[in-house]
């Protein structure tokens, strides 16, 4: 009696997602954009983290749990970027569909090669990620590559629209391919950058722009006076720019500006929730302009 009741309920649940839009809870706005870009009309996307703060340091909020409770799928950056809140939010959502290991759990970082994989898991080295640097979304080519993987995954929810998902992924890859050569060309003579955190490494690697250092002495540890002094001593007489994200404190960057005259750029990393692909390309464009700053 009970089994038949539960079995019937299972059938009902299994039947539901096929008929409706695929409800996606995305962690960051960029991942939400990727889901929208690949899923098109077939998906309904909720973004859990805002664009103007560090996805590392968020706290699980009840609204995240509510979004995950209603979702068919969670689309995250992965590689422990959201480890401080996503597992707790998933636990609080009591929704087996979005748990790790299920088809409704998607980590972008799993579907592209990461920088810095396999570093020592030693917190004396700061807030390290042995799984690799999670910020792959700053490299448009990797972003598009993950889009292909997402198309594969979405196809498993709605096979009828699989071709559409793959076409969307191909369009994204084409749009990226169209822009990358010009960006690389523009950045050819870029003298190099100092970043606040290891969060734009992928883009710098894609543009072949050398990274001269980080304002953080260790990942996750705020800049210290002695570390900044070392940076300044090492970079005296060199050319370059300092880039930090707009939610990261500016004082370290301004210190470098005062000491060695490098221009400082405070840039966004995520699009505003709901913005389109052009907004994403605009952000990349801003980084290209920053590294080619004529004052550098």
């Amino acid at each position: 009696m009970r089994t038949s009741w539960i079995g019937g309920f299972a059938l009902l649940l299994a039947a539901l997602p096929a008929a409706a839009e695929i409800r996606i809870a995305a962690t960051t706005p960029n991942m939400g954009l990727l889901a929208e870009t690949i899923g098109g009309d077939a998906v309904d996307v909720t973004v859990m983290a805002p664009h103007d703060r560090d996805a590392h340091y968020l706290e699980a909020r009840p609204s995240m749990m509510a979004a995950l409770r209603r979702a068919d799928m969670v689309v995250s950056v992965g590689a422990e970027l959201e480890v401080g809140w996503l597992p707790a939010a998933i636990d609080g959502a009591a929704n087996p569909d979005v748990r790790a290991g299920g088809r409704g759990y998607f980590e972008g970082a799993r579907h592209t090669d990461l920088i810095g994989v396999g570093g020592a898991a030693d917190r004396a080295q700061g807030d390290v990620h042995p799984e690799g640097n999670p910020h792959f979304y700053m490299d448009p080519e990797r972003f598009a590559e993950v889009g292909e993987a997402l198309a594969d995954r979405l196809a498993r929810f709605d096979e009828d629209r699989a071709d559409g998902f793959h076409a969307n992924a191909a369009d994204l890859a084409a749009a990226v391919d169209e822009r990358m050569p010009a960006w690389r060309e523009a950045a050819t003579d870029a003298p190099g950058v100092v970043l606040y955190h290891e969060d734009s490494d992928y883009l710098m690697a894609a543009l072949n722009v050398p990274i001269h250092g980080f304002l953080e002495p260790l990942p996750g540890v705020p800049p210290t006076a002695s570390h900044l002094r070392e940076l300044v001593d090492g970079l005296q007489g060199e050319r370059g720019v300092v880039i930090h994200r707009n939610y990261q404190p500016a004082d370290g960057a301004e210190f470098l500006q005062r000491e060695i005259g490098w221009p400082v750029h405070s840039l966004p990393a995520d699009i505003e929730p709901g913005a389109d692909l052009d907004a994403y390309f605009d952000i990349i464009e801003q980084y290209v302009e920053a590294v080619t700053d004529p004052d550098a």
């Binding site: 539960i6 805002p50 609204s63 790790a100 042995p130």
Partner: protein, 474 residues
């Protein structure tokens, strides 16, 4: 009582239904899931094989299905947390507030030494060892051991179901009850060195931590809504003390030996979506203990209480995220209220065959309000106001000024406590905290002037976490 048995049966049925559900899943819907799993293992395996070679980390497999990309390669996740203190009660005595702290058995072992788990001087309050992970596709397991200098205690050891449908989740084992907001938080996760007085005195030093089962449901709504109930053993010293048995010391007293479960709770939480900057959660909770007993053996008499107890509570938490780095500008406001009532018959035997019986009701409550503010990156400061015994009617054996035995619950007055703390967190894994608190005791009852001076205490707390420390829930 019948309703409770039914509830317990239902809970048990749900536990056994979990594997059954899993079984029926693969029977009723194999085509989609299994085909997908196979399709995936082809491409995912190729992708992850390369990664595994690079990292040397073996991705976890669930039953031959796709690798878990859960963001951590460790299973079980193991963490060790050291909670150490230097504390000094430098003025007055840090005693139990009048009317509380098992005040019923006055001079009966408890009473004066009670100090909220904090002693004077250097101390390791606790080393917490936490192991958690997925058991199989159907269950997660969390075990937490509290290691002190003298013993090891199982603080929590529970499973939770991971694949019940429709937002249902069952938890079973030993765990912190979900009543209120602070109760389920571990010591290292408190915003102050100690917990609110109302939790400490109405539920005990450990809070409401019980053996039993919980069934909870998360509604598929825009606002976060979670409802649940718990069927618990009932080992709580404050809510369901059991002294059942036969006592014979010239006088003979027999108390029933009630079987468990002896404690039932229900809770509801609601959190609207207030956008990215703000979060609110409101909660209500209630509990009922059908058997409440206490026996005090004195040299020439027994004092016996027998009855039942219940409580209700309300909690509210508001958090603001300023979006700056390392918690700067963030603030949190939080408040909880609990009211406990005990209805009992009191029997005092005096050894001469004289039994004086009275029936009465104890009613005691308490609340706290606290605020936390991140005044600089990695620094926060907090203020907390505790009021205990706004209603404080309790029965305590004694005699009034004329030497007559007191036969009713009397008002013990309100005790207030003021606490302030400053914390510095070099990273998420270490914290240094300084706290100052002042307790302004009530004067006690009309008949019994406790007359405690204000107690002042200073704490210096060092907390360190080693290993994979799971994310904290809201």
């Amino acid at each position: 009582m019948r309703a409770m048995t039914t509830a317990a049966t239902l809970a048990a049925a749900m536990l056994f239904a979990a594997p059954a559900w899993a079984g029926s899943d693969s029977e009723t819907g194999p085509s989609m899931d299994e085909a997908l799993a196979q399709a995936d293992s082809a491409d995912a395996d190729a992708a992850t094989a390369a990664q595994q070679q690079a990292t040397g980390v073996q991705a976890l497999q669930i039953d031959g299905d796709m690798p878990i990309d859960s963001g951590t390669a460790f299973n079980p996740a193991i963490s060790i947390i050291l909670d150490s203190l230097y504390s000094q009660n430098f003025s007055g005595e840090d005693a139990d507030p009048p009317g509380f702290g098992n005040g019923h058995d006055h001079g009966h072992g408890h009473g004066d030494g009670h100090s909220h788990g904090i002693e004077d001087g250097f101390q390791i309050r606790e080393v917490e060892a936490i192991f958690s992970g997925s058991v199989d596709p159907y269950f997660d397991l969390v075990t937490q051991f509290g290691i002190t200098e003298n013993d090891i205690e199982i603080e929590e050891a529970f499973f939770t179901t991971t694949n019940l449908p429709a937002g249902l989740q069952v938890k079973g084992g030993k765990f912190f009850s979900d009543i209120g907001y602070t109760n389920r938080k571990h010591t290292h996760d408190w915003d102050f060195t100690d917990q609110p007085l109302v939790i400490d005195e109405l539920f005990g030093e450990e809070g409401l931590n019980e053996l039993g089962a919980q069934v909870a449901w998360v509604a598929p709504t825009q606002s976060y809504t979670r409802l649940g109930f718990e069927v618990l053993e009932g080992d709580n010293e404050e809510l369901s003390p059991i002294d059942g048995g036969h006592y014979d010391d010239g006088e003979s007293v027999s108390l029933s030996d009630p079987s468990s479960p002896r404690l039932f709770t229900a809770f509801g939480k609601w959190g609207p979506d207030l956008g990215y900057d703000n979060a609110l959660q409101l909660g209500l909770s209630a509990g009922y203990a059908p058997d409440w007993q206490r026996v005090d053996e004195h040299s020439s008499r027994f004092d016996v209480w027998e009855g039942d107890a219940w409580f209700i509570g309300a909690d509210a938490v508001f958090k603001h995220d300023a979006g700056r780095s390392h918690g700067q500008g963030n603030w949190t406001l939080q408040a909880e209220y609990f009211l406990r009532e005990i209805d009992y018959d009191f029997v005092a035997t005096d050894g001469g065959g004289n039994n004086a019986t009275t029936s009465d009701t104890d009613q005691q409550d308490g609340l706290y309000i606290q605020g936390l503010y991140g005044f600089a990156p990695r620094w926060n400061a907090g203020l907390r106001f505790d009021a205990l015994g706004l209603t404080n009617d309790a029965f305590e054996p004694g005699r009034d000024d004329d030497g007559e035995r007191i036969r009713e619950a009397i008002d013990f007055g309100t005790t207030y406590r003021y606490s302030a703390q400053v914390s510095y967190l070099p990273t998420e894994f270490s914290r240094l905290r300084f706290q100052l608190s002042q307790t302004d005791f009530s004067d006690g009852s009309d008949y019994d002037d406790h007359g405690y001076d204000d107690a002042w205490r200073a704490d210096l707390q060092f907390t360190f976490a080693l290993g994979v420390h799971g994310a904290h829930d809201f």
